[in-house]
């Protein structure tokens, strides 16, 4: 079943044409990774999906419904959560409050409590630090928090924007393990990464984006073996 289908998406920042006719599909239950150089437009795509940016042109169909141009809160409500680039935790709120805000649109008290349990199970570190101000966490901890926050919304589709950026190697592994776990529990994932090795190793399919255009797509294996990808993104 197709969860997300993007057709000919165009996005502008003023005069800058950041996305030029992007098309992409995500099946339910998949991990799809999106790789591309700096400034290719990966974050722009995710922001557009989340409703932070209005597209200029094009279709975004999520579960048979068009969500292009809808306000962010109704997209979150429909089940799309994002872990934004650079974590963006609420620095002067406690870890607990940050997690709580993830469930902002939910009203089921008991369910929220359950999700809390789950987040703390996945990230025991966050439980230890639940009273600490989020801004004083280390980079990796903040990344966990950002993911925990997104899990609280019980998303059907989770958008991850460079979750490994700035993390220590050990932490990168941990984060990728967690992504796999979250996926195993039924959440569909669209993963944006610079770390193409890692990303393709857990994904089923991948897309390559360059200066706003989709230039390549295929199964993770195909991409990993592609000369083009190797040369440009895998460092030889």
């Amino acid at each position: 079943m197709t969860m997300l289908k993007i057709n000919n998406l165009n996005v502008n920042y003023g005069r800058i044409h950041a996305l030029k006719g992007i098309s992409l599909e995500v099946e339910k239950g998949e991990i799809v990774s999106l790789i591309g150089a700096n400034g290719a437009g990966k974050s722009t795509l995710l922001k557009t999906l989340s409703g932070l940016i209005r597209p200029k042109e094009g279709e975004i169909i999520y579960l048979d419904e068009s969500i292009a141009g809808k306000p962010a809160q109704s997209i979150v409500k429909a089940g799309i959560s994002q872990v934004p680039e650079g974590r963006r935790v609420f620095a002067e709120m406690s870890v607990e409050e940050n997690i709580e805000l993830g469930a902002f649109l939910r009203r089921d008290k008991a369910g929220i409590q359950q999700s809390f349990q789950k987040v703390y199970e996945v990230f025991p570190r966050l439980y230890e630090r639940r009273k600490q101000m989020a801004g004083t966490l280390s980079g990796g901890e903040q990344q966990m928090l950002a993911m925990g926050r997104a899990i609280m919304a019980r998303p059907k589709l989770l958008l991850l924007d460079e979750p490994s950026m700035g993390l220590a190697p050990l932490m990168v592994q941990t984060i990728f393990d967690i992504i796999k776990d979250i996926n195993d529990e039924g959440t569909t994932i669209l993963l944006v990464e610079q770390n193409a090795h890692m990303a393709l190793s857990i994904a089923s399919r991948g897309y390559v984006i360059e200066t706003g255009k989709m230039i390549l797509s295929g199964s993770a294996k195909e991409l990993q073996e592609s000369e083009e990808v190797k040369k440009a993104y895998l460092g030889g």
């Binding site: 790789i35 700096n38 220590a168 050990l170 932490m171 993104y233």
Partner: protein
């Protein structure tokens, strides 16, 4: 080159409120070396850089640079004494042109006075010409010369990182501190960056200390590595030694990277 220490750090420590972010760190960097500083997130690496550059004042210990004690010195004085840095989160002068970003760093190398500038006396023109020439030179080395009139914030991310390094070099340091220069770059870009670092090191006769989480880069170019964890040094040595140090594997590298 003889083993002449350029930066000596003795029992360095700093405390934020109740938190001891760095404690009892002792390290020595010799002239001409390229040294790596690694460690888990929140280990205190950036904090150490901040102390070396005068942004934070250490609560204990000493920093000796070129045989002079520099702890507590204002950042601009540290820079003038020969240490220059880049930042983990890029800090360019966004609305200045690429060229002017570099000129700012060259500021303290020339010395025409305010009066000569206001009255447009010859020293002003001489000084400004020199700055222009030198700044262009740095831009050329970094392949940024064709962007010279662009506002810095309009550069793509990778170019911004390069510009930051170019700017740091324009301050004519003996010791260059790079804080995660490869963050946000893909493997291919990282390789290019490694070449660039090697090149400027040769050309400007630099000593370099760098923080990085990308092990390809660290293991690829660093001659020696220090490892910080929870504010204390847990290991020091050649890349090969560090790669196989169980403490480092446990705290930082994890199993898979070794392969």
């Amino acid at each position: 080159m003889s083993k002449e220490p350029l930066l000596q750090v003795e029992n360095l420590g700093i405390q934020f409120g109740g938190l001891k972010a760095v404690s009892n760190v002792t390290m020595e960097i010799n002239r001409g070396e390229l040294v790596g500083l690694i460690g888990p997130n929140g280990a205190g690496k950036t904090t150490a850089f901040n102390m070396f550059t005068g942004v934070y004042v250490p609560t204990e210990g000493d920093i000796i640079f070129n045989h002079k004690r520099i702890n507590g010195l204002a950042p601009y004085k540290v820079t003038r004494s020969g240490i220059s840095r880049t930042f983990q989160n890029i800090r360019l002068f966004n609305e200045l042109s690429v060229l002017d970003n570099v000129k700012v760093a060259y500021h303290s190398i020339v010395n025409h006075s305010v009066v000569s500038s206001i009255l447009r006396l010859p020293p002003h023109f001489r000084g400004e010409r020199e700055m222009e020439k030198k700044a262009m030179l740095f831009l050329e080395i970094f392949g940024l010369d064709k962007y010279k009139d662009e506002e810095a914030r309009n550069l793509p991310y990778g170019k911004q990182r390069r510009l930051e390094i170019a700017r740091a070099l324009a301050a004519q340091p003996e010791l260059l501190l790079l804080d995660e220069p490869a963050a946000g770059m893909n493997p291919q870009e990282t390789i290019e960056l490694m070449d660039l670092i090697a090149f400027v090191r040769e050309k400007f006769n630099l000593t370099i200390l760098l923080i990085e989480h990308d092990m390809n880069l660290v293991m690829g170019i660093c001659e020696r590595i220090y490892v910080l964890d929870h504010g204390v040094l847990i290991a020091e040595g050649l890349p090969e030694e560090i790669r196989n140090n169980p403490k480092v594997i446990e705290a930082y590298l994890g199993e898979e990277v070794q392969k």
